[in-house]
């Protein structure tokens, strides 16, 4: 048994090195902006660059729009599926796999083809970008809300509320949504983390977003990109760490995180 534990530690250590070494290297690299000394000058440059604030602001705006519109579209749908058409569940779950089959690069290509000519011309509207982001974020939002709904007795709650005379609106806002708070928060942070640094859709649809800005910096500068990587890692880590903190109690219900976007 002892030997087995030792081996387990070894693999764990290798994993940790693989995870942290690049982060450490990036951090050290980001401090080398001034020759000969370690300094935060690269970070200063980043924050002083008006493009940084502009592109980050743009991406933040897109992310917030994606969260709001995505939740408005997906949350009622998920509740409806649970309450009224449980038969549709496998079908919706199948749909959550579609964004995997159609990765962002293909989605962007298709969106350009479809919406750059009549009847609907949308390529010059940021709403098309937001629509694309909603498609990308939909599996994460749906799964998180779905897990939240599974964890509560939706049917019992809704029957209790209705037999006490509450309307659908009251049921939704006073009973269901408060119980979904954690799920909604985790969907929100995950979506923010995914959208703010997203490269592919923004690049292909030609928007001045944070992802393309970072890629451009990478072409031209050395230390500032490292600073950007650290900032963006802090953002992802912050968002997802927060989710884990919020959902700690509910985690036994099953793994609900599983998210990658490249």
């Amino acid at each position: 048994m002892r030997k087995k534990t030792g081996l387990s530690w070894l693999w764990f250590a290798i994993g940790m090195v693989y995870f942290f070494l690049p982060l450490l290297a990036t951090f050290l690299f980001s401090l080398r902006g001034k020759k000969g000394v370690l300094s935060f000058v690269a970070y200063e440059h980043v924050f002083k660059d008006p493009q940084f604030l502009r592109t980050f602001g743009f991406s933040l705006e897109m992310a917030i729009l994606t969260v709001i519109l995505g939740l408005v579209l997906i949350v009622p749908t998920a509740i409806w599926v649970h309450l009224k058409v449980p038969k549709a569940k496998p079908f919706i779950e199948l749909l959550t796999l579609l964004p995997f089959v159609i990765p962002p690069i293909i989605l962007a290509f298709g969106l350009i083809k479809t919406f750059s000519r009549p009847p609907i011309v949308l390529v010059s509207s940021p709403l098309l970008l937001v629509a694309g982001y909603i498609i990308v974020a939909f599996p994460y939002i749906y799964r998180s809300v779905d897990a939240g709904l599974m964890a509560m007795d939706l049917r019992g709650l809704s029957e209790a509320a209705q037999s006490l005379g509450s309307s659908w609106i009251t049921l939704l806002f006073k009973v269901v949504l408060p119980n979904l708070r954690t799920a909604l928060l985790s969907a929100t942070f995950l979506t923010l983390a995914i959208v703010i640094g997203e490269l592919t859709l923004a690049l292909i649809l030609a928007w001045p977003a944070f992802g393309p800005y970072m890629a451009l910096m990478g072409r031209n500068l050395a230390y500032e990109p490292a600073a950007l990587a650290i900032l963006s890692f802090a953002l992802t880590w912050g968002s997802i760490g927060l989710i884990q903190l919020l959902t700690r109690g509910a985690r036994d219900k099953g793994a609900k995180l599983g998210a990658v976007t490249h």
Partner: protein, 310 residues
């Protein structure tokens, strides 16, 4: 992309009450079909912004520049440079799925049944959630700072061991560099996918087989591997697809030095290389076919493994 961590398909509320359906009054049955209308806004959205664009790619692959039907684009997919592009993408995907899969499995095994302390497990699943999302541009920068020409590891190897990494044929911007970079998000994804399967391995099975006199080898060959195999294969397939569709990391790391399929498609859309939109659609179609096969195999394997993993 996504690690669809699936639950066993049948939700308890799905089960209909046993009894003759014919007894249900007609108007109630009618009501049930109207309930589907509640899904309409969402389905319409998915249809407009995902199904139609995807269908546009499919139809575009079978059209020439004037919109007439042709098979030329699909035939052009078999040109040597495009075949080699598919092959290198598959090679990167398979290599990183194998590397990430093995390491991810060993780590997950350690924290699940290998005897590492419990708190480490919570930490690891949190960390995997973050690290599997840490991809794209920042990941490329991180690896440039690590294994680039003046990266931390490159310099350390030179000063401490006297090894010139770049003289050994290694280059961050080529196959192995890209594969090591992808592996960074493949390992944590593997941990996230395989942990539930490992949790399904019951201690009692091990104890029972040991009581019956089975050796460690016998336990693994007769019990462990057969139970885990569908999950392992499913995870591998998902990691493969995950790498196959990745664009942002490759774009910001190599800037198109390696002709991966997503890079080729991106270059095509942005009008840099091929200047043949319809060939671009065919390239995209090929990719959708690969991804569809991936997810189909994955779903099938998941169903097999759900017998054990609850």
């Amino acid at each position: 992309m996504t690690a669809p961590v699936e639950r066993d398909g049948a939700a308890p509320e799905c089960e209909s009450v046993p009894g003759p359906r014919a007894n249900i009054p007609h108007r109630y049955r009618k009501k049930a079909s109207f309930a589907w209308l509640g899904l309409l806004p969402f389905l319409l959205f998915v249809f407009i912004f995902m199904v139609i664009p995807a269908a546009g790619i499919v139809t575009g692959s079978f059209q020439d520049a004037n919109g007439a039907f042709t098979l030329a684009n699909v035939r052009n997919l078999f040109r040597a440079n495009i075949i080699s592009s598919y092959l290198i993408t598959m090679k990167v995907s398979a290599t990183t799925a194998a590397l990430g899969g093995v390491l991810g499995f060993l780590i997950a095994y350690g924290i699940s049944i290998g005897g590492l302390p419990r708190p480490l497990r919570a930490f690891m699943s949190t960390f995997s959630g973050v690290a599997s999302n840490f991809a794209g541009v920042p990941l490329a920068f991180a690896f440039i700072a690590t294994l680039g020409r003046v990266g931390l590891v490159t310099v350390l190897l030179r000063t401490l061991l006297g090894i010139e990494l770049y003289d050994t044929g290694f280059n961050l911007y080529s196959f192995w560099g890209l594969s090591l970079t992808y592996t960074y998000f493949q390992i944590p994804l593997m941990i996230l996918i395989i942990l539930p399967a490992l949790d399904g391995m019951k201690k009692e099975w091990r104890e029972a087989s040991e009581n019956l006199g089975a050796s460690t080898f016998q336990y693994w060959s007769k019990v462990g591997i057969p139970v885990l195999l569908p999950s392992l294969l499913a995870a591998f397939v998902l990691l493969f697809g995950n790498a196959f569709g990745a664009y942002a990391t490759a774009y910001s790391l190599t800037g198109g030095l390696i002709n991966l399929v997503p890079i080729l498609i991106g270059a095509q859309i942005r009008g840099n290389v091929l200047h043949d939109a319809n060939l671009g659609y065919a390239l995209a179609l090929g990719m959708v076919v690969v991804m569809t096969m991936t997810i189909a195999i994955y779903s099938w394997l998941q169903k097999l493994s759900s017998r054990w993993v609850k």
